[in-house]
């Protein structure tokens, strides 16, 4: 096979990828149940739904009460990370919504609770992507740290970790420095005021895409009392949000390479739509010693 030939797709598939992805988006693990992978479905459901409903308990379901009155529309919560778990988001809106019309005190653990519901949303997106991938390969195919959904989740948790797991060490380091650097720089400029979901609901969602570093910074100093003017508050807010949003590109990058290594798509340069060189194709193949475990 020449370097420019597309890889052979597995002749056996497990189901319809779009159906699997939609089911997973609505109910975590739903797609894997449809694909005949009940163990993965159970683990995915326990992890994502568990995190979401623990978050709801800790926050008293008041996460969307952070939104100012003028922002409280039917689609307003859809711009938050919780959208990644559609069933959970709909349940939260039905059960709690924006709360009563009068202001009330937030629970002590509301920041932790809302971080957990947001994390559940991001993780469910990775599970959904994995369901889409699994639908295109045999039911007997196993999992490893190199699986597309797993590596995307790792890339979210720590920027660069997905690249590191794929053996792309230099890129891992540069991605980590760029994204975490912007997050730290922005937080320094804004004196940590950028890290509060209560103050900046939507920007917080962007920063949250940087994973554990964003969560760590928030709990280390993200809710400072504001006693004076912060000259670069808005600049810092934008810079930190850009850092988080850039991690989407990093997650897509590791996901695409994982798909190539699994033989699902032909490797090519995404910049110019030209087939990659033989060297680049070989560099994307799974390395010796990398093994999958069966589901």
């Amino acid at each position: 096979m020449s370097a420019q030939d597309p890889p052979q797709r597995p002749s056996e598939t497990s189901g319809e990828p779009t159906v699997a992805a939609l089911l997973s988006w609505i109910v975590p693990g739903g797609g894997h149940l449809y694909l005949g992978r009940p163990r993965v479905a159970a683990i995915g459901f326990a992890l994502v739904a568990g995190l979401y409903f623990l978050g709801l308990q800790l926050s008293g379901g008041m996460g969307f009460e952070f939104l100012h009155d003028e922002l409280r529309g039917a689609l307003a919560p859809a711009l938050s990370p919780e959208l990644g778990f559609l069933g959970g988001l709909v349940y939260q809106m039905k059960a709690y919504g924006f709360g009563p019309d009068y202001p009330r005190a937030f629970p002590d653990l509301i920041y932790l609770g809302t971080a957990l519901t947001a994390a559940a949303g991001i993780l469910n997106l990775c599970l959904t992507a994995q369901a889409h991938h699994d639908a295109r390969r045999p039911r007997s195919a196993g999992y490893s740290l190199q699986s597309p959904g797993v590596v995307a989740a790792l890339a979210w948790l720590v920027p660069g970790l997905g690249h590191f797991v794929q053996g792309r060490r230099l890129r891992a380091l540069l991605v980590f420095i760029a994204i975490v650097g912007l997050l730290v720089l922005g937080s320094q400029l804004a004196d940590g005021a950028n890290l509060s979901r209560e103050r900046h609901f939507y920007y917080w969602g962007g920063q949250f895409l940087a994973g554990l570093p964003a969560i760590g910074l928030e709990f280390a100093g993200g809710h400072p009392p504001i006693t004076g003017d912060i000259p670069y508050a808005e600049g810092g807010l934008v810079i930190a949000a850009i850092g988080g949003l850039l991690n989407i590109l990093a997650m897509l990058d590791v996901y695409a390479v994982a798909e190539v290594r699994a033989g699902m798509v032909a490797p090519k340069s995404r910049a110019d739509s030209e087939p990659a060189t033989k060297k680049s194709v070989e560099s994307l193949r799974m390395q010796p010693g990398e093994q999958e475990v069966s589901a």
């Binding site: 990093a250 990659a276 060297k279």
Partner: protein
């Protein structure tokens, strides 16, 4: 004093944006890093043109005076 700081911050953010978009476009490190200067130049020129157009609009059709 603000202007140099703004340029510095813009340069830092621009470098991160260009680097990540270069990595996204090119799966191999070598070509991605080699393309950085050209991409950074295009990014700066594009942002400069956009800023120029916005300033022009601010002083003409979108002027509040």
């Amino acid at each position: 004093m603000d202007f140099p700081i703004h340029i510095l911050l813009f340069t830092i953010v621009g470098l991160a944006i260009v680097m990540l978009s270069s990595f996204f476009s090119e799966p191999e490190d070598g070509p991605a890093l080699r393309a950085l200067p050209r991409r950074f130049l295009y990014f700066f020129i594009g942002c400069g043109v956009l800023a120029g157009l916005m300033l022009l609009a601010e002083h003409t059709v979108a002027s509040v005076n």
